[in-house]
Subunit: 153 residues, 2 copies
DNA sequence: CGCTATTGTATGCAAACACATATAAATGTG
DNA sequence: CACATTTATATGTGTTTGCATACAATAGCG
């Protein structure tokens, strides 16, 4: 028999999660103090960011919601506000009359891009000291693998 | 000259952050659906968890706040509610009459421990499939290093 | 010392949020 | 094809949040 990779025990998993979570909180707190998110708070930016990576026809509200830590009703109302501000649009889904497709408007795409640039610059300032290129790459690989294994189910 | 470790470029840092952030959102969404957080939501649990790891005399409200993604006034009011529920107590700081020390009550410690146990079990169910023991250890090391480099400044 | 600046927490208030539920369309079933 | 069930989003309502600011105590400085 080949060596079976021993499954991680509860303690190891909990420590990894705690560290991941705390790291995210720490970075988030730093980012929130920056002026990038005065025009659009982080949750709103994240909505635009997710829409940017979506097909041109947009995303159904429920699908968009899956990527966010926000209840469905709260997202629905956030979309109301973003529509009022002209950053996104609600389009009836031609394939399902119950559904709505949310899309970025041109103004929304412009705002996302502008904030995104500043954001990325600041991310770099905050993170680049702590890890080397190689380590950042490893971190990306590990978190990606974790997302992939958790997400689908 | 020895090889200088080349500093990560903006793109690499942004990809790592995005992946880390998205991973955290994915796991969080899974955890939130579990019944662990009916008695206490995740933010509230996190407050108790942070108090658990604190010295017996407790933590000043401001210090506690540094570990949370919550504004100082919001934390102050959350503490109000937790005091009402008998889970934490406000104690005047003997060294500084402006400050308040927040401590876990016995009931609060009991609740934290009970929820914590279930939480840890579920964390393990969610995460253990995706990464090996060794990878979890690496993930922990990398996120720890990142926290350490970001936090102090 | 007296007096301004700073620090630590709390409160008024409007905005945003979650929960339960309503509405409306699609799907499944006898 | 009627009718219950499920799916997708929206709305009513009380709670929680953040912003601005008030309050209270310490620190700093002439």
């Amino acid at each position: 028999m080949a060596d079976q990779p021993e499954p991680p025990n509860v303690r190891e998993t909990a420590l990894a999660w705690e560290s991941l979570f705390r790291c995210q909180v720490t970075i988030m707190r730093r980012l929130q103090t920056l002026p990038d998110f005065r025009e659009l708070n982080m949750r709103e930016y994240d909505v635009l960011f997710n829409l940017k990576r979506a097909p041109d026809c947009g995303l159904r509200l429920g699908d968009l919601n899956e990527h966010l830590l926000l209840s469905q009703p709260s997202l629905s109302r956030m979309i109301d506000r973003l529509v009022t501000r002209g950053l996104v649009a609600r389009i009836a889904d031609p394939a399902d009359a119950r559904a709505v497709l949310i899309t970025l408007t041109e103004a929304g795409a412009e705002v996302q891009q502008r904030i995104g640039r500043a954001h990325v610059r600041h991310i770099n300032e905050v993170m680049a000291e702590g890890l080397s290129r190689d380590e950042l790459c490893q971190l990306r690989r590990l978190t990606q693998a974790l997302s992939d294994s958790v997400g689908p189910s």
